[in-house]
Amino acid sequence: MKILAIETSCDETAVALVEGDGSSFTVLENLVSSQISTHQQYGGVVPEVAARMHVPVLPPMIAALTGWKKGDIDAVAVTTGPGLSTALRVGVETAKALAVSWGIPLVPVDHIEGHIYANFLDRTVRADAFPILCLIVSGGHTELVLMKDHGEYTFLGQTRDDAAGEAFDKTAAQLGLSYPGGPSVSLAASKGNAEAYILPRPMLWTEDYDFSFSGLKTAVRNLIAGFDSPSDQMIADVCASFQAAVVEVLVKKTHNAAMECMPKTVMLCGGVSANRALRGALQAVFAKTDIAVLVPELTYTTDNAAMIGAAGLRGLVDGKAAQDPLVIDADSAKTLGGHWKWE
């Protein structure tokens, strides 16, 4: 089966062609156009600008896909949420138009589920890889979710305040580093000493699988408030100490959850999965166990449509496609379907 996928939930316009049977997924084409440089000029994302920028870019990007001919696309997949509603709508309306005019089903895809399926791209994940424990870390999410099978999610824990990616972004902003904060903090941290400053590890020892990064953000703030004019080395040391605190909490809670749930695989998902220190620490903690660790290819850590295509193909197999594409709508506050472990 071949699916055309569209992603416009925030500041990336992305289209992809993905082929697969719902268990393995091959990326035929994957195009991403980023608006980051535009938003950098404004100092932040501007919803109206984000939406307006998707409009002229999306149709030519679809036209630029060459790996298909009329009649050989089985379905269209589109991110319906969570995200900025005006931005989401550009992708959703375009996808509806395509599905209606081609007479094929439209599969609504959750952006976070897309990040989970980024791990399945260009790989064969066999049925015995389940259950899979997913650590989802991005600008808006920090969650531990147990995936018993495709599309079956049990929530174990989440952040009680700020997401891990948000903590990276806000730390970068406080240190005068560039947006987006994840890569710039990570780069500075690679030149710093992680033991230079003692920062808190919020909720490290609690017995739940929840996280909290708001206090860590405040601790960084208090630390740098004491600096007169910090040298590059001091900034690098703060970044390294901060990153070590975030990584330690994420890895420890994931390990705790794995010891309770005994998954076959631990999967890192979301934008923060590009962080090398986090990848390394997660792989190290499970190195001597029977639990495999999967991290997405770096290309697929940031927002892209290939991951939406994979989740869409799976959704198609599981009967989640809308036969009438016109009923699909953007849902900015969409949550991953599933239940809490105590429900």
């Binding site: 932040g44 501007v46 919803p47 900025l84 509603s85 009680r160 948000e166 806000k170 405040t218």
Partner: protein
């Protein structure tokens, strides 16, 4: 009025004490630097209003809405404009904020109101954190 609190628990207690004042104002603008206690304060308000859900930072979602069972309001609206550049009136409409602000049965708490091109009328709370002391000030 100036309140000084020593820890998160006390920020929550203060929020609970101020709930009715906040509802009188209906729109509350939370000013203060990163980490000064704006979201923590809003969590305290939510708790006092009987909201059981986790009130998380709306930085990435922009607007979070919570249902409330209260004689004067039906919902708590938690807004964070941090990630946005200057917000003009058209954008206010697009993120749906203008409607939420007009709704007489909402308590709207806005973080980073500095991003608004044209100020929305409301009660302004100033947050600051020096050492371990959180201060909350309003007129």
């Amino acid at each position: 009025m100036k309140h000084e609190t020593q820890n998160i628990q006390e920020v929550h207690t203060l929020a609970a004490q101020l709930v009715e004042t906040l509802i009188d104002a209906r729109v509350v603008l939370l000013q203060g630097e990163l980490g000064a206690g704006k979201t923590t304060f809003t969590q305290g308000v939510a708790k006092a209003l009987g909201i059981n859900k986790l009130v998380r930072s709306p930085t990435y979602t922009l607007v979070n809405v919570y249902s409330v069972a209260h004689p004067r309001i039906d919902q708590l609206v938690h807004v964070d404009l941090y990630r946005l550049a200057l917000v003009n009136e058209q954008e206010l409409k697009q993120i749906g904020l203008d409607e939420l602000v007009r709704n007489a049965r909402s308590l709207v708490m806005i973080e980073w109101p500095e991003r608004l091109e044209k100020p929305v009328p409301g009660l302004t709370l100033h947050f600051a954190l020096k050492g371990d002391v959180y201060t909350v000030e309003y007129k």
